[in-house]
Symmetry: C2
Subunit: 209 residues, 2 copies
């Protein structure tokens, strides 16, 4: 998000305040119980006033998810752009079930081409995928993964498993998502190292795509 | 589904016809474009008549998903209760995008406790989980998986990856879900065999849970 000056500064500040409050309300109550009225009240606006900043409920939710991504990424994944950083994002999700609910539902709805959030989720997927590929490359550089591995494939599996586990976790909060992702990751790592041993190449960890 | 006799027989036959048509319409058009009107027309009923058999849209969709599960399971997973059988179900899904859409959306919606389909998806999850655990045990018996592996954990990861990949596939039909699931499975298998080599036990493939 680029910050704006002059006549827009006040509007930008209010937008940021609304987002912050919407994040709180959705995290606490879930997307079905987080009413526009409650969000509007907490920021001292009417519902019409709220819709002045975010034209629709869909637009507000997209902004909430984007703000969540930016916050979590800055807190966990950017300082440690490895699989461990990814796991910290997932671990943090267990503290905000409402946002997990919003993500699971909204992303499922948006998988249809004509949904207003379809393009948002496509772009978001590209972003998470690229970050995950970087985590795989970091693991190759450290020797955890062997050099012969399709990093895009591992990234797709990692994101799929994390998405699916969040849905399972909504049905049964006792599921340990982190332990399951660690086992999946360790399996792919082991497989990729064995492959390197069977078919050794130069010592450089150059991915083979 | 138990079949009924006497006065119910005609109703049961009509229900089965409606389900079969609804499966077709949803598979072709997706759940958003599959209107009750079209389903009703194709089976020669009014919309009110349709609702006589299925009290609500949610109830009809639950029945559609149940019928899909029964059909696919009988065609692919029951004859081969292994991971290969599971993969055939996923492979078949690529031919019915509308049903994948229905499954992804409806299961996400239903993750909330008070949704009418919540209990249906909890039970469905238990069923798929149990079948997947059996696939892991079959792989242990054949030596593909080592004896020391938490079959429940592998089943959770398998189902999560399959669910997440279906969602990715809705956004990008070029994703090869089967290849990704095979890599994930091979990784967990390799890991479990190594574990068995490091910590050998009796030759019997007894899972350690």
């Amino acid at each position: 998000m680029t910050s704006r000056r002059g006549p827009y500064a006040k509007g930008t500040a209010k937008r940021a305040e609304i987002l912050s409050v919407a994040l709180e309300v959705v995290a606490e109550k879930g997307c079905h119980n987080a009413s526009n009225r409650e969000i509007a009240e907490r920021v001292g606006l009417s519902q019409a006033g709220l819709m002045h900043y975010f034209g629709s409920r869909e637009e507000l939710y997209m902004a909430v998810l984007r703000a969540r991504d930016e916050r979590d990424s800055a807190a966990y994944w950017e300082p440690d752009p490895s699989f461990a950083g990814f796991l910290r994002v997932i671990e943090n999700n267990t503290r905000v079930p409402g946002l997990v609910q919003l993500y699971v539902e909204f992303s499922a709805e948006a998988s249809l081409g004509k949904h207003p959030a379809h393009e948002f989720f496509r772009e978001r997927y590209e972003w998470v995928h690229q970050r995950s590929v970087e985590s795989v490359r970091a693991a190759q550089a450290s020797g955890e993964f062997g050099p012969h591995i399709d990093a895009d494939l591992v990234a797709d599996v990692l994101i799929a498993a994390a998405d699916g586990l969040q849905q399972q976790w909504l049905l049964d909060r006792s599921i340990d998502m982190v332990a399951r992702l660690q086992a999946m990751w360790a399996g792919m790592a082991t497989l990729s190292r064995l492959d390197a041993e069977i078919d050794p190449v130069t010592a450089e960890a150059t991915p083979t795509e």
